[in-house]
């Protein structure tokens, strides 16, 4: 094992720690489920340790490799902690700490056996994700990746007595396997190339060996796109995203939070590892970057449009994850494009924005999922239309969610804004590119990005406004109670992260710079890092600068100024009265906007995007019902035809099945003959 203390040994220790804590929790919690908060705190301590190992790795700019026992003959388990792994360890540990603290309060109603099982699964989930980030050979990577998929599948189907949950789980598993298959193809191509088609020796499957292969453009193309689609399936790339809005809502809240906030980022990690690490920029063509950029831009728009129509808060958040992954992919594609075209400054800024948005999304999306969990818990229904007025009942968690909402809407001075700002700064470097078409594509990408982020603001006004504000829309919402202490503490942890990321971007940028330098050999312009921690300056002071902290202080200052004015000029008397509502004396909760009606302008304006079925009642109907269902067009146009095709093929195959044993033997015989001829030829 490792002789001395290093970030890598700490991370590996945490891996073991997750396993041990998980098992002991599994055994102890069966009998004593009330110990849950304590155990979750222990697990959270493990997450903090993981985050710390990442931080340590970034600070010492280490690149540590090691091999462990086990694994395959001539391919022992390789592990490595470089800047990229460190960054994602930081992300993983940082976001999951809050989620785990929250879990201690959230699961308190579970019975013993279920509590133990849940705890074990969560611990294993964290362990496998850490394994993915640390793995340095294809075997260990796939092992961790597949166990991660499997564990998360079991987490998704926690409430497996409901059919909806089982279906979502199977869909997820199917997509996860499809993705793994493609990733495997990418790895195999990366490893086999040297030995010209023959199956290579196992040692070629270590990432170190894979990173050194030279390859033809055709192979590089296949590696790039099977990697893109394979990791994309996990990240929710269109049209492979369909599992995401199904699986995230049905899972228990901390699980959906981990899935969306953390697990999606392992896919981003994989993409960056394959593109920049294993395949290497020198084998990538800029057109592929354009493809990634365009799919990201389209994903962003699609995701947020569908988010705007949802009334299940978790589904809304899941579609918004599609949007955010779209933004991340947009940045990734943009950076590939710029770097290949020879514009290092713009490319590096885009890559920094990509990484920054990944960690931002990990924090605010986890926070919002937790918030949605408390909302659902308080009102008893997974429907925004059954909520309302929750902010008065749960002011603390409501305020925390509000901060998350401001963050995800990309508003200064919060963190979502920083990454979008950086991304926009990098698109503005477009004037350097000579080709009109590429320039137009980048510009349209920027245009779609700002459109998506404005729509996101509308979507989250809906999320918060319908859920937390106004009058309670159901009996459950009227009875709502504030979330438990561990839940609030967990959310507060994530809010702290959002503030840190939003107000002190330069610290994070310095770490991100380590990652970028490690992956591409380039680094952010000097001015970006030497302007002091107060100023965020991507390129030069002349071109753009932003100081979130000063802005934040100024906003607070001027808000107190506004308060002072209203106090000084105005009479301080304040009286609670019934709402005026222009003199109408009836005011019922049903007169408020429903979740559907708030999204109506979007439905109307982007009608071409949606597959809508509308049922309008007849004037004479006794119980008039207005019904509107919106379906994801990918189901209709892509998956259903595939499904039909499969059924058709299956019924064709049915004809071969006669039931007579001699016929079956003939089949075997013919197959054998064919195989033998084939062998002769080869």
């Amino acid at each position: 094992m490792l002789p001395h203390a290093s970030p890598l040994s700490l991370a590996l220790f945490m891996l073991v720690y997750f396993g041990v804590t998980g098992l002991s929790g599994f055994i102890l919690l069966k009998r004593r489920p009330w110990l849950q908060p304590v155990f979750y705190l222990l697990l959270a301590a493990g997450s903090v340790g993981t985050a710390f190992s990442g931080l340590w790795g970034l600070e010492c700019s280490c690149d540590l490799r090691s091999t462990l026992g086990g694994g395959l003959p001539s391919l022992p388990f390789h592990v490595r902690l470089d800047a990229l792994s460190s960054f994602f360890l930081l992300l993983l540990g940082g976001a999951s700490t809050g989620i785990l603290i929250f879990s201690g309060g959230y699961f308190k109603t579970l019975s013993g056996p279920r509590a133990g099982a849940m705890f074990l699964r969560l611990a294993l989930f964290l362990g496998t994700m850490t394994g993915v980030v640390l793995a340095d050979d294809a075997y260990l990577f796939m092992l961790s990746w597949e166990s991660m998929a499997l564990v998360s599948f079991f987490l998704v189907i926690t409430d497996d007595e409901q059919e909806e949950v089982r279906n979502a789980g199977y869909l997820y598993l199917l997509m996860a396997h499809l993705g793994s298959l493609l990733i495997l193809v990418a790895f195999a191509l990366l490893a086999t190339h040297e030995t010209s088609g023959r199956f290579p020796s196992l040692s070629a499957f270590s990432f170190e060996a894979m990173g050194k292969t030279a390859m033809s453009p055709a192979i590089a193309f296949m590696v790039f796109f099977s990697g893109f689609l394979g990791f994309g399936a996990k990240a929710g790339l269109l049209p492979l995203h369909v599992w995401l809005p199904e699986a995230h809502p049905v899972a228990p809240t901390p699980v959906s939070s981990l899935l969306s906030g953390v697990m999606l980022k392992t896919a981003i990690y994989g993409l960056i590892r394959v593109f920049f690490g294993l395949e290497g920029l020198e084998h990538i063509f800029f057109q592929w970057g354009v493809a990634v950029l365009l799919s990201g831009a389209f994903m962003a728009l699609f995701g947020i449009l569908y988010a705007l129509l949802q009334s299940d808060p978790k589904k809304l958040l899941a579609y918004s994850s599609v949007e955010n992954i779209g933004i991340i992919l947009l940045g990734l594609g943009l950076s590939v494009l710029y770097l290949k075209k020879g514009f290092p400054v713009a490319g590096v800024i885009a890559l920094a924005a990509t990484l920054y948005h990944s960690i931002n999304h990990a924090f605010f999306k986890s926070l919002l999922f937790l918030g949605a969990g408390t909302m659902i818990h308080a009102s008893g229904k997974k429907d925004l239309n059954a909520m309302g007025g929750l902010l008065r009942k749960m002011p603390v968690s409501g305020l925390l969610v509000l901060i998350g909402v401001l963050s995800i809407s990309g508003l200064p001075p919060m963190n979502g804004f920083v990454s979008e700002w950086l991304l926009l700064q990098s698109t503005l470097q477009v004037s350097d590119i000579p080709q009109t078409l590429i320039r137009s594509i980048i510009l349209l990408g920027a245009a779609l990005l700002v459109l998506a982020s404005a729509l996101a603001a509308m979507g989250f006004v809906k999320f918060f406004g319908i859920g937390y504000l106004g009058l309670p829309r159901s009996e459950g919402a009227r009875q709502a109670r504030e979330a438990s202490v561990p839940e609030r503490v967990g959310m507060a942890w994530l809010v702290t992260g959002c503030f840190a990321l939003g107000l002190f971007p330069t610290f994070f940028l310095r770490w991100i710079d380590q990652v970028i330098f490690h992956m591409t050999g380039l680094s952010l312009p000097d001015s970006a890092l030497s302007s002091g921690w107060l100023w965020l300056v991507p390129d030069s002071r002349h071109s753009a600068s932003y100081s979130p902290l000063i802005l934040f202080i100024l906003l607070l200052l001027f808000m107190s100024l506004g308060w002072g004015i209203s106090r000084w000029f105005g009479r301080p008397r304040r009286r609670r009265t019934p709402a005026w509502t222009c003199g109408y004396d009836i005011r019922t909760p049903r007169m408020q906007d429903s979740a559907g009606s708030f999204g109506q302008p979007i439905r109307h304006f982007f009608a071409n995007f949606f597959l809508m079925k509308r049922h309008l009642p007849d004037p004479e109907e006794k119980d008039p019902v207005f019904e509107l269902t919106v379906e994801d067009p990918h189901w209709f146009y892509l998956y259903r035809p595939i499904l039909h095709l499969f059924f058709r093929l299956a019924s064709l195959a049915e004809k071969v099945r006669t039931g007579k044993i001699s016929v079956y033997l003939i089949y075997s015989f013919i197959t054998l003959l064919l195989l033998l001829t084939l062998l002769r030829w080869l």
Partner: protein, 225 residues
């Protein structure tokens, strides 16, 4: 580009400015919902063409372009709009433009068309020796936008306006790419357009008498009968 005097530089910029005005007006045609506004925009296009032809003629010292400018003024700013307004009055068309594809979608399509033609004309523009290179892209995109209007609008009169817009865009490109076509060709085209408008005008009355509407869908099956 060879060194140019300051006055010429200003003329260059003026032409670029007018070109973007032409593109803007073609875009505005897609967005407008009133027939009368469409005709007004067409007249505006005529003014833009007149001024830019004048500018090109000063820039290139081609005197025949002066006549072109005058013709443009007479035909496209005065005569054709007058005829069209008269037609509108006679046909009692006041209301809104009827659309096959809604306005925002048409405009997004239009944006795509603009990107397409800018990309397409980029290599051509680099070779162009005459005036400003990007103007070819502008001409092409205005032409395609007018075409788009012909495709996506229902009424016959909008089609005529789209047709006239296409002619304007063509004229603009021709002037800027090669300092205009030979005088004879220009005159011929101008008269063609004029006659075409007359024919359309007569045609409209015929259509309306037959179908009691100017909607093009009534003409869809004419070949079958």
């Amino acid at each position: 580009m060879n060194p140019i005097s300051p006055e010429h530089a200003i003329l260059h910029h003026l032409i670029g400015f007018l070109g973007s005005g032409l593109l803007l007006s073609a875009f505005a045609m897609l967005a407008m919902r009133r027939m009368t506004s469409l005709v007004r925009i067409f007249a505006l296009q005529g003014i833009i063409l007149t001024i830019s032809t004048l500018a090109v003629s000063i820039l290139s010292n081609e005197t025949h372009l002066l006549f072109s400018a005058l013709f443009t003024l007479a035909f496209k700013v005065v005569l054709l709009p007058a005829i069209l307004f008269r037609l509108l009055g006679r046909l009692k068309i006041q209301g809104e433009v009827e659309v096959l594809v809604n306005v925002p979608s048409t405009m997004v399509l239009g944006l795509g068309v603009v990107v397409f033609s800018f990309t397409l004309s980029a290599p051509v523009s680099e070779m162009a020796s005459t005036v400003s290179g990007g103007l070819i892209g502008i001409g092409l995109s205005s032409l395609l936008l007018s075409f788009l209007m012909m495709i996506t609008r229902k009424k016959a009169l909008t089609q005529v306006l789209g047709f006239l817009g296409m002619e304007n865009a063509l004229f603009f490109s021709a002037i800027n790419a090669t300092y205009g076509m030979p005088m004879v060709v220009e005159l011929g085209v101008a008269f063609d357009v004029l006659v075409g408008t007359f024919v359309f005008g007569i045609f409209f009355f015929q259509i309306r008498e037959t179908f009691e509407s100017l909607d093009l869908k009534h003409m869809d099956n004419t070949s079958m009968e």
